[in-house]
C-alpha cells in the first residue's frame, strides 16, 4: 500500500498565519484538493508548493481568488506550451 503524506490544514494555516477560509475557497474554486479524515481536513504534501504559491499570490501580491484561478490556468498553459516547444525542438532536430 502506498503511503500518503498529508498535512493538517489547521496546522498549515497556523504556521502561515492565514485563515482556514482561504484554503476552503481554494478548494471550492478547484485549485486544491482537501482530504477529510475523521472530520479533520488535510492536504497532500505534493500540493504544498502550489498552495504556498497561492498564499503568496493572495496575501503578498493582493491577488484575489479569481485572479489566482486565471493565473493558474495561464501558467498551466505556459507549461504545456513549454513541453510542446521541447517536443517540437526534438522533432526539428531529427530533420536537421
Amino acid at each position: 500500500m502506498e503511503t500518503e503524506y498529508l498535512i493538517a490544514v489547521a496546522e498549515f494555516c497556523a504556521s502561515h498565519k492565514i485563515e482556514i477560509s482561504f484554503i476552503i475557497s481554494l478548494q471550492r474554486n478547484g485549485l486544491i484538493v482537501i482530504k477529510t479524515i475523521h472530520d479533520a481536513a488535510f492536504i497532500d504534501v505534493e500540493q504544498l508548493p502550489q498552495l504556498e504559491k497561492f498564499v503568496r499570490f493572495y496575501y503578498e501580491l493582493d491577488i484575489n481568488l479569481e485572479g489566482i484561478e486565471t493565473i493558474t490556468h495561464l501558467l498551466n498553459r505556459i507549461n504545456t506550451l513549454h513541453d510542446e516547444i521541447a517536443d517540437l525542438r526534438n522533432k526539428l532536430r531529427f530533420y536537421e
Binding site: P49, K91, R93, F94
Partner: protein, 293 residues
C-alpha cells in the same frame, strides 16, 4: 559599492507615502514575481531589486536611515563609520516567492546587514528557493540508467539518470533547493537535460532511425551485413532484390522507454544503395550483357 536608488527602483518620489510605496511595490511585484515568471532570470533579478527596495522603504526606521545616507552619500567615510557601527538583525520577512531571501545587494548588506527585520508581522514559514540546473549528456549516456554527480550551490548531489530521458526534459529532485525560511522546508532542484547527438543514429522519442550503405551486389543477390545499434553491432540479413530507400524495422532495438525497465522502441534501418564506381572495362561489358539479357 554602488549606491542603489530604491525610490527609482519602485518608480516613486522620495516624498512617497507608505501607501504609495505599497502600491508601487505590489504593482511591480505582480509583474516580476518569480511565481509568475518561471525560469526568467531577468524577472528574478528585477524582483530581488524591488523586494530590497520595499524592504527598506516600507520600514520607517530603515527608510529614515536610508534617506539620511542617501543625502550624505558623497561622504563615503561617514557611511563606512556608520556601517561599522550598525548591528545586523536576525530575521527577515517579505516575499519568499520561492526565494531564499539571501539575495540582497552589497549596498543593502552594508547598510542593514545580511538580514532584515520582520516588518510585516506575518512571520510565516516558507519553502526555500527552487534551484535549476542543466546536465549535458550524449545520446549514448541517455541510453542507460546511470549515476551522475553535479554541483549545485557548492553542494555535490549524486543523482540517478533514468535511461530514456528526453532532450529538454526536466526532473525534480525534492528538497535539494534552497533552505526554507523560518524552518520552512527546502526548495526543490529542477534539472533539465540537454542531450547532444553526434552519432549517425537519430532519435525521435523512443524510436531510432539510421541509414546504412548497401552495395549493389548484396542488394541484388541478398546477403548479410553488420550494422551498429545503440548497444553494439547487429548482423542483419538482406533480402535479395532490396530496393534503394527500403526500410527494415528492428523490434526492440530502439531507445529505452523512460522509467519502464526492459521496454524499448524500435530501430528503423533505411538502405542506401551504393552504385559501383570506377568500373573496369570487363565489368562494364558484363553490365552491358546484363542489360541486354
Amino acid at each position: 559599492m554602488t549606491f542603489v536608488d530604491y525610490y527609482k527602483i519602485l518608480g516613486i518620489l522620495n516624498t512617497a507615502t507608505s501607501k504609495e510605496i505599497k502600491t508601487a511595490y505590489r504593482k511591480l511585484a505582480r509583474e516580476y514575481h518569480p511565481d509568475l515568471n518561471p525560469n526568467d532570470r531577468d524577472a528574478k533579478k528585477n524582483f530581488q531589486e524591488i523586494n530590497e527596495a520595499n524592504e527598506v522603504l516600507s520600514d520607517p526606521e530603515k527608510r529614515k536611515k536610508y534617506d539620511q545616507y542617501a543625502k550624505d552619500w558623497q561622504h563615503a567615510d561617514e557611511f563606512e563609520k556608520a556601517r561599522q557601527q550598525q548591528s545586523s538583525d536576525s530575521q527577515r520577512s517579505g516575499y519568499s516567492g520561492g526565494q531564499s531571501g539571501a539575495d540582497f545587494s552589497d549596498f543593502f548588506e552594508s547598510m542593514f546587514g545580511g538580514a532584515a527585520s520582520g516588518s510585516r508581522g506575518r512571520q510565516a514559514r516558507y519553502r526555500g528557493e527552487d534551484y535549476t540546473a542543466e546536465i549535458n549528456l550524449n545520446l549514448i549516456d541517455a541510453f542507460k540508467t546511470h549515476k551522475q554527480t553535479l554541483s549545485v550551490n557548492g553542494k555535490s548531489i549524486r543523482i540517478t539518470v533514468p535511461a530514456g530521458i528526453e532532450n529538454g526534459q526536466t526532473i525534480k529532485i525534492a528538497g535539494h533547493g534552497g533552505p526554507g525560511i523560518n524552518s520552512g522546508p527546502n526548495g526543490d532542484l529542477y534539472i533539465t537535460f540537454s542531450i547532444a547527438n553526434h552519432s549517425k543514429i537519430k532519435r525521435l522519442g523512443n524510436q531510432l532511425y539510421t541509414t546504412v550503405d548497401l552495395n549493389l551486389y548484396t542488394a541484388i543477390l541478398g546477403g548479410e551485413i553488420t550494422i551498429l545499434t545503440m548497444d553494439g553491432q547487429v548482423k542483419l540479413k538482406v533480402k535479395p532484390e532490396t530496393q534503394n530507400g527500403s526500410k527494415v524495422k528492428l523490434k526492440g532495438k530502439g531507445f529505452p522507454v523512460y522509467k519502464r525497465e526492459g521496454e524499448y522502441g524500435d530501430l528503423t534501418v533505411t538502405y542506401h544503395l551504393l552504385i559501383p564506381a570506377n568500373l573496369t572495362q570487363k565489368q562494364k561489358e558484363l553490365f552491358i550483357k546484363l542489360s541486354e539479357s
